[in-house]
């Protein structure tokens, strides 16, 4: 592979809380090439959003210990970039859309205002040109009657339309990377599919790389060539989607796979992973998944396993599985 667009190494993010420093993300690393798609999956609280927000340097300085590691983008380490330069990257080179389109748009500004702002800021367009661009962008995200809708306020639009507006804002400056943090979680199923289709089309049209975050492995599998599974702030498995589905190398991934509702027949009960994600303030010795793992062995509770290569482009953090695979 040539130099990737983005290379994250050993990213660790800590927050100050009443109980002391909390490690939300620990030694996360991945690479993303131009026009590639990466899916990040994991239960709520596993550190997906914290990872994504780090890429844009959006953590509040007052409560965050300077993230360690490196985020190499276009030859520079974003973690070391001064605020002013970082602002040019945000919205210009790397754009992000969020989970809740209801609250992610400013209620007192029109759609035109909110889209124009980005292009005026990054491309120096004047107001009239920016407005024209806004209408064009609404067309691009398939909002009917764009010339009219552009003057609407967010509360006059449906949830799906608001997410389209968010996407329009994000692609306004033709970013090289789009981060979509659970873009469909707050929407109903038919709208979800439409939004994902739209993202796919736009990605092809604009040649962006995309990081899609979801807690639904089904959504990720359909969308991304490569998947990274996170658990309690760590990467537990990373692989091409096909390999991951065919041969999950971590019990947590297996659990997530079992939780995908099958399309071909009705099920009354879906499998779920027993227990819940540990409170990040609590230190778990050994493997962090061990308290919930059905395949747990004594060693798992003692030493924290490393992320090791288990196949072509396939990394996992579960020695027992690897041994079982190796010795059939």
């Amino acid at each position: 592979m040539t130099t990737p667009l983005l290379a994250v190494r050993d990213l660790t993010v800590q927050f100050r809380t009443d109980a002391g420093w909390l490690t939300a993300v620990e030694n996360v690393g991945f690479e993303l090439g131009a026009q590639e798609t990466l899916g990040i999956v994991g239960e709520s609280g596993s550190g997906k959003s914290v990872t994504a927000l780090s890429l844009l340097g959006l953590h509040a300085a007052s409560t965050t210990r300077l993230p360690t590691g490196s985020i190499d983008y276009a030859g520079q380490n974003l973690l070391k970039l001064p605020e002013r330069a970082m602002r040019r990257i945000r919205g210009g080179e790397i754009a992000m859309i969020f989970q809740d389109p209801m609250s992610s748009l400013n209620p007192v500004l029109t759609v035109a205002d909110q889209i124009s702002e980005t292009v005026m800021l990054h491309q120096g367009l004047d107001r009239a040109a920016a407005r024209k661009r806004a209408v064009g962008l609404l067309d691009m995200v398939r909002i009917a009657d764009a010339a009219h809708r552009v003057d609407a306020y967010p509360h006059q639009l449906s949830g799906g339309m608001r997410q389209r507006v968010m996407i329009a804002i994000a692609i306004a400056c033709r970013p090289k990377l789009l981060i979509a943090d659970e873009p469909t979680t707050a929407l109903d199923v038919t709208i979800q599919a439409q939004i994902l289709d739209l993202l796919r089309e736009l990605q092809a049209e604009l040649g962006m790389s995309v990081i899609l975050i979801s807690h639904d492995l089904g959504v990720i599998a359909e969308f991304a060539r490569r998947v990274m599974v996170m658990y309690a702030g760590r990467v537990v498995e990373a692989a091409p989607s096909r390999a991951l589905f065919r041969q999950p190398m971590h019990p947590y991934t297996s659990g997530l796979l079992a939780a995908i509702p099958p399309l071909d027949h009705d099920v009354t009960r879906l499998s779920t992973i027993a227990g819940s994600i540990p409170d990040p303030a609590r230190r778990i010795p050994g493997c962090r998944f061990s308290p919930r793992c059905a395949e747990v062995e004594a060693a798992c509770r003692e030493t924290a396993p490393d992320l090791v290569t288990v196949g072509a482009g396939h990394l996992a953090r579960c020695p027992p599985r690897l041994h079982r695979m190796a010795a059939p």
Partner: protein, 316 residues
Amino acid sequence: MRMLRRLLLRLGQAIPVILVVAVLAFFLMHLLPGDPAAVIAGPEAGAEAVERIRRQLGLDRSIPEQLLVWLWHLAQGDFGTSIIHNQSVLQALADRMPVTASLTLVAFAMTIPIGIVLGVAAAKFRNTWVDSAVMLMALIGVSVPGFWIAILSVILFSVTLGWLPASGYVPLSEGVWPWLRALIQPAAMLALFQIGFLARMARSATLDVLDQDYIRTARAKGVSEWRTIAKHAFRNTLIPVVTTTGIILSLLMGGSVVIEQVFAMPGVGRLIVQAILTRDYPMVQGTLLALAFLFVAINLMVDIVYTWVDPRVRYD
């Protein structure tokens, strides 16, 4: 169009309020212990004088009849006539209102920008010395009695330094600077409490807004920190703040009654106090009612501003 409808609706809602106040003001006269005519005339008045007052005020008629006459006069814009000065209530108010209005508006003009800027700054720099300093000032503002600070201030700025007049009022017609010079001190005393109140309010409103997802969106777009506050947060902060400005304006008008006493200013406050002391009941009734009108008008104005600030209200 919707805005106009909303406005008309609010006007319609104001009518019952005004009616209730009018009826309450009417009964004020009849809640006096004993014979109102005798009370008004005073202890030394003879039977003949009492009788004259009774007729003059229409107290010789039945109460429903009196109420109808009172409302009928009000509907025609007649708020009654002072029995001491033989001057109509409206005329007396017209004479005094410029003083109170000047005092209130200057205090208001001090309160709004200072209170909002302090509050927003405290929120922006939360948990720093800026925040602590603003909150301390706000605490002093709301907890130290205004008249006490007023007296200290007069001792310092008027008596010791001689920079500002200690009392009195200079009409605007005599020049902006003399007018303002006479008002600065009383208006600042009046504003102090409200600034503290507003700064706290604006601080918590801004903190709320800064936590919202759309602020994160603005940052993710590459908008600078200051622009995020000025453009994305501020308009949203204003929504709850505007609601309180109506209350602030009303409280400032109420507070000016006290401050007018301290600074010997011939405003509506002094008019009411004098009317009460001289048992000029028609004057008391009329001024109270006029003030009630004013409060209703203020709230209507706030409503219009509110509609303009929050598009969700404008279009629903």
